[in-house]
């Protein structure tokens, strides 16, 4: 039995793909292929191993960058949120990072770190980390005062207050930051492959465009979006398992 929520998801995906197909058939542009053509190219590339080889390249900076951003970002965010001095020290850096036009700064990164993995991981981190840090620190700072007082009055140590109260209370906003950060990281990974050296999925996009093989180009873009959506769903599942009661608002609603 398929649930109503899942049915709606399928319906929404179906509508989107239908609109794509229609737009491709009009066509809105000769560089815009139909959905079915793109899918054909998609499965073709999966079949002949091109997609797999491309993702081996792309996933490396993406996964490394996202893991670094998540671990370091949440850690730094907690630190910044709990301590006014570190707030003063670090917050401006991440606000600048978030607002910076990254594409324009990539040549600087290449000058400093070359065209290898380091630069690409950095691009992913610069895209993903600021929102994770800023969300985490904001959430931690806004822990309801009565929760902390409750912890203290029932003799919780500082560590217990942090682990059992502050972090769970902040978790919805931390996870929202993670979701935004991870999506930005996916964009960063592709941006790095388009701007630094064409490898992996970025290479498929660049190459297919240069030979006017638009179905393959859109198939590559479609694949990265699909992967991002699947990953975000996984993140949501993890959140639900970790903090079950948080799903439905606060006690003081």
């Amino acid at each position: 039995m398929i649930s109503r929520a899942n049915l709606l998801k399928v319906l929404s995906a179906f509508l989107l793909c239908g609109a794509w197909e229609i737009a491709g058939r009009i066509p809105v542009s000769y560089a815009f292929p139909t959905f079915l053509d793109s899918m054909r190219a998609f499965f073709e590339m999966i079949g002949n191993g091109v997609m797999l080889a491309a993702y081996k390249e792309t996933l490396r900076p993406l996964v490394i960058g996202i893991v670094i951003s998540a671990v370091l970002g949440i850690g730094l965010g907690l630190w910044v949120g709990l301590n006014n001095f570190f707030d003063w020290l670090f917050s401006p850096i991440f606000i600048v990072m978030q607002a910076a036009p990254l594409a324009a700064l990539i040549p600087l990164l290449v000058l400093a770190y070359g065209i290898g993995l380091t630069s690409k991981v950095l691009v992913v981190c610069i895209m993903a980390m600021p929102v994770i840090v800023l969300n985490t620190s904001g959430a931690v700072r806004n822990t309801p005062e009565s929760f902390k007082e409750m912890g203290k009055s029932f003799l919780a140590s500082r560590t217990s207050v942090l682990l059992r109260i502050v972090i769970p209370a902040a978790s919805p906003v931390i996870f929202a930051g993670l979701r935004l950060g991870v999506s930005a990281g996916f964009i960063g990974a592709i941006l790095a492959e388009l701007k630094i050296t064409p490898t992996g999925v970025g290479d498929i996009i660049t190459y297919s465009r240069s030979i006017a093989d638009y179905p393959s180009m859109y198939a590559a873009i479609f694949s990265i979006i699909l992967l991002a959506v699947l990953f975000l769903n996984l993140l949501e599942k993890i959140e639900t398992i970790l903090f079950k009661g948080n799903q439905r608002g606060y006690v003081s609603d």
Binding site: P144, L155, K244
Partner: protein, 268 residues
């Protein structure tokens, strides 16, 4: 007059002192330039319920949080069972106005929180928590989450959490102000039997005159700007007459009227 009022009398304070579970000595609390409490002294007799009653802004919650060890007084000190308070301790438990339940934890884990922080083993703290959940009438809701409960039920969880750590003194900060009127009456009746059956000292902050007179063995009237204890009232005659008769007892009605006439000038 049917009520007895303890005014500043050195002989009497000596007698009360030895029976006090909590003594507040010359507490002053300043927030910057604002004087929240000035030179306040108060005794809380053991095994009884004392209400702190006064208009809003009179510092009653501040005083309760100082006694809880959550706030530092600017000067003066608090003694609980003869020991000076330096922070929260196992001899005091707090019931919060907004319940302060952890939304991601089940009723069982919320009630067991205090025991967990005291290092009680999992199976033991869960059986203790289950007992108190039953005592407050929430048996069967152990695995519910706070958002699934009504306001009254949530405060029962808060009460069970405070009772489960078995401390001598229960600090209650307007515990019934966020629940509906009918639940509130039931809570007040339950509180009376709790005071009778549990050998604990209750400190009860409220802004409701009727509630204070109904549940208290002793009422401390606090007046604002600067905050001070204006009088202490000990209702004497109606406590033994049963919960149903209190609200129509002449002494109850007299005290409610007297308190209102002394407070009305402080309420805009």
């Amino acid at each position: 007059m049917a009520m007895s009022q303890i005014k500043e009398d050195s002989n009497q304070t000596e007698v009360v002192k030895s029976e006090s579970a909590v003594s507040v000595k010359n507490i002053t609390k300043n927030y910057g330039d604002i004087e929240a409490l000035r030179d306040m002294s108060l005794e809380f007799p053991r095994g009884q319920l004392t209400s702190l009653l006064g208009p809003s802004g009179c510092g009653k919650t501040t005083l309760l949080k100082i006694i809880a060890g959550l706030l530092e007084p600017s000067s003066g000190y608090v003694e609980v069972n003869g020991k000076s308070v330096t922070g929260p301790g196992p001899d005091r438990a707090f019931v919060f106005q907004d319940f302060a339940l952890l939304p991601w934890a089940t009723v069982l884990n919320n009630v067991a929180f205090g025991l967990e922080m005291r290092g009680v083993a999992k199976s033991e703290r869960e059986s203790i928590a289950e007992k108190y959940i039953g005592d407050v009438g929430l048996a069967g809701f152990e695995n519910s989450y706070p958002h699934e409960l009504s306001g009254g039920m949530r405060q029962r969880v808060g009460l069970a959490r405070a009772l489960s750590v078995d401390s001598d003194v229960l600090l209650m900060d307007e515990p019934f102000s966020a629940v509906d009127e009918q639940t509130r009456r039931k809570f007040q009746e339950d509180l009376l039997s709790l005071v009778q059956n549990e050998n604990k000292t209750f400190l009860f902050v409220t802004h409701s005159i009727e509630e204070a007179v109904y549940v208290s063995d002793q009422i401390a009237i606090l007046l604002p700007r600067p905050s001070r204890v204006s009088e202490i009232i000990r209702p004497s005659s109606f406590r033994g007459k049963g919960v149903d008769n209190i609200r129509r007892d002449p002494e109850y009605l007299d005290i409610v009227d007297d308190i209102w006439s002394s407070l009305r000038t402080y309420v805009e």
